[in-house]
């Protein structure tokens, strides 16, 4: 909208005077009646706007109102105070978390580190697996055999987190001499093959902090690797046969075909998926951690969400918990936005 006087007044050469610009008058009119027009359009099309209301309200109430609760990180948790005095504790909670002194702060930093590490190891070990599996799927020419493999490897993804963690818990359970129970079957395998000592197996793998990350990653691969391969596999089967034939005529062996035909074709998919993963580095599935960890493994297992859950929901320290989540979420959001910007620059595909 032009608002400068020069635009509004036009110099008329024939009369040598300034006169009002007719177009600008129309523009002004439009501006003056903007909200009126909006109202008219909405009224005329009220059915469409009625449709969007439920969605709007659901997101407003249960996605945006919680964000208001985030202000709790500045609040003193004391109902006897006036509302104005309750706001603001200022940055005391953040200072407690950042200070590096006291058990709270130590625990928070451990949790923050674990959050990052669990995702990072997931990126290192969990990310390449689906790609490898997709490459192997492609080698199986028989449709029936491939379908069987696919159905089996997608299966764990359909199990709930509770079922999965219950299975893991039972398979690596501790032995219980009083009740006369042996350790879990996977632990027994591992002891047999000498990966872990018998004492560790008897005490239960889930009680050993040094094994938590491995259990988390391996169960993660078990759960998602097959299912996640779908997207890479569809990228691979989209490659036309002529590309392979051309490579073969040029004398390319299998490795060379992989290197020069398959990889370049699925590279964009890989990049996109990689960037998505990096964007959600601070977004660890807390449900799984919550169901697998116990006080013995807090050192390596605790993530920010479970830290918050322990202090904010189980305990009475909502201020600290909220501040911790606030920090985590802000850093997480910055990561997502960076990842998305990079994705947009690197390729034409944008994630959101």
């Amino acid at each position: 909208m032009k608002i400068k006087a020069d635009d509004y007044l036009v110099y008329d050469e024939s009369t040598g005077k300034y006169r009002e610009d007719a177009e600008q008058k129309v523009r002004d009119d439009v501006e003056k009646h903007y909200w009126l027009n909006v109202g008219r359009t909405v009224l005329k099309d009220w059915r469409l706007y009625l449709m969007i209301i439920p969605m709007f309200l659901v997101f407003l109430f249960w996605r945006y109102f919680p964000m208001y609760e985030l202000l709790g990180c500045f609040k003193v948790d004391d109902d006897t105070l006036e509302v104005a005095d309750q706001l603001y504790a200022g940055f005391t909670y953040f200072q407690t978390l950042f200070s590096g002194e006291g058990s709270l702060s130590v625990e928070f930093w451990a949790a923050f580190r674990n959050t990052f590490l669990l995702s990072f190891y997931g990126l290192c070990f969990g990310f390449p697996m689906p790609i490898i599996i997709a490459l192997f799927f492609n080698e199986i020419r028989s449709n029936i055999a491939r379908s069987i493999y696919q159905v089996i490897t997608y299966l764990p993804k359909f199990m709930s987190t509770v079922v999965m963690t219950s299975l893991v818990t039972m398979l690596v359970r501790q032995s219980s001499p009083i009740a006369g129970m042996e350790m879990g079957v996977i632990s027994r395998f591992l002891v047999e093959f000498g990966f872990i000592s018998e004492e560790v197996g008897n005490a239960g793998l889930l009680n050993a902090p040094e094994f938590f990350r491995a259990i988390y990653q391996i169960s993660g691969i078990w759960e998602t690797a097959g299912y996640d391969s779908i997207i890479f596999f569809s990228a691979i089967i989209a490659i036309s046969l002529t590309s392979y034939e051309a490579a073969q005529i040029d004398g390319a062996g299998k490795i060379a075909q992989m290197r020069y035909v398959v990889l370049p074709s699925i590279l964009s998919t890989i990049v996109i998926m990689l960037i998505t993963r990096i964007g959600s580095l601070l977004n660890v599935g807390y449900e799984k951690v919550l169901l697998l960890y116990n006080p013995n493994t807090y050192v390596t297992a605790d993530v920010v969400s479970t830290f918050a859950q322990r202090y904010g929901i189980m305990g009475q320290n909502a201020g600290i918990a909220t501040s911790a989540e606030m920090l985590n979420n802000i850093v997480g959001m910055l990561l997502v936005i960076c990842a998305n910007t990079i994705a947009r620059k690197a390729s034409d595909v944008s994630l959101y």
């Binding site: 059915r47 439920p54 659901v58 609760e69 219950s166 129970m181 062996g253 904010g312």
Partner: protein, 296 residues
């Protein structure tokens, strides 16, 4: 043209088969073990004699599960949550997605951002918990004392799913809509007679996403449903697992089957419905994943 396989290709093929077979066995083994352990005799389970095949077969652990009213109760609750939860979420998502797919919608960009922002930034579980507590209070005041409705209405909406629907609706040619409007169709008729039939497979996929997440939902159901008899299956499994880990129960155990068998029987029971419908829904999921490349 039939071509002789080169050596490198042959080796690669063999590696593929071997690797995939091992991986598939690893994927399947825990489930097979669970079934075996659920139907094996007490000693075999407790002394760790079961590797793959069951021993001293008994079905009492299953019988105990089937005679357990709490188990059936939790099953009913899960069905309730899944059915009404999916219905509610789909209703909201279809209407919202349809409105968002219309170019003539005012503030379309704003609404889209409103939606997408929740994928970037979530308040976190403690603020959400406080919010749900407030909601619960309001629901109680309105006379809705069954916490299941709170779970159904307040939870489980996903911006991603609405965007999938929006994209599908955007793909419907506008000429068809115009023709319907000329024939005198109202907005709702356009949606139900044109858009929904034309994007059936996306709708099925999104409904499945919602249904699975409802069926598997655990954390919030456990936090927010105060009445024990209203808990869904997942919470029931977890509580049973925690109960069975208690040393007192294990030492005082005097049934003909092992305490572990109960857990395994429960796990098997809970995954049977999923296994039955799994072959039918699997292809929709593959489709859903490929739709994930979202555009703005």
């Amino acid at each position: 043209m039939k071509r002789k396989l080169e050596v490198s290709e042959l080796i690669f093929k063999i590696i593929s088969y071997v690797f995939l077979t091992i991986f598939a066995i690893c994927c399947l083994y825990p489930f097979l073990y669970a079934i075996s352990a659920a139907i094996s005799g007490r000693e075999a389970v407790e002394y760790g004699q079961i590797v793959l095949l069951p021993k001293d077969i008994q079905f009492e652990a299953f019988a105990e599960m089937f005679n357990n009213n709490k188990f059936w109760n939790s099953y009913t609750n899960t069905l309730f949550l899944t059915f009404y939860g999916t219905l509610w979420a789909m209703g909201v998502a279809i209407l919202g997605g349809y409105a968002l797919s219309k170019k003539r919608l005012l503030f379309r960009k704003g609404f889209n951002f409103f939606l997408v922002f929740t994928m970037w930034f979530s308040a976190g579980i403690v603020p959400q918990y406080l919010n749900y507590l407030d909601t619960q209070e309001i629901f109680y005041k309105l006379g809705i004392t069954d916490d299941k409705w709170l779970v159904v209405i307040a939870m489980g909406m996903a911006a991603m799913n609405i965007i999938l629907l929006r994209n599908a609706f955007e793909g419907v040619p506008s000429e068809i809509e115009e023709a319907a409007v000329v024939d005198g169709a109202t907005e709702l008729q356009v949606l139900t007679r044109v858009y929904i039939p034309m994007s059936k497979s996306t709708i099925a996929t999104v409904a499945l996403f919602f249904a699975i997440s409802r069926w598997n939902g655990y954390f919030w159901a456990r936090q927010m449903i105060t009445n024990l008899s209203e808990h869904p299956l997942q919470v029931f499994i977890r509580l049973k697992l925690e109960e069975m880990q208690d040393p007192d129960i294990m030492t005082g155990w005097d049934e003909a089957y092992a305490a572990d068998s109960v857990i395994f029987a429960l796990i098997v029971c809970s995954i049977i419905p999923v296994l039955i419908i799994y072959p039918f829904i699997q292809k929709y999921f593959a489709k859903g994943v490929n739709m994930g490349g979202v555009k703005e």
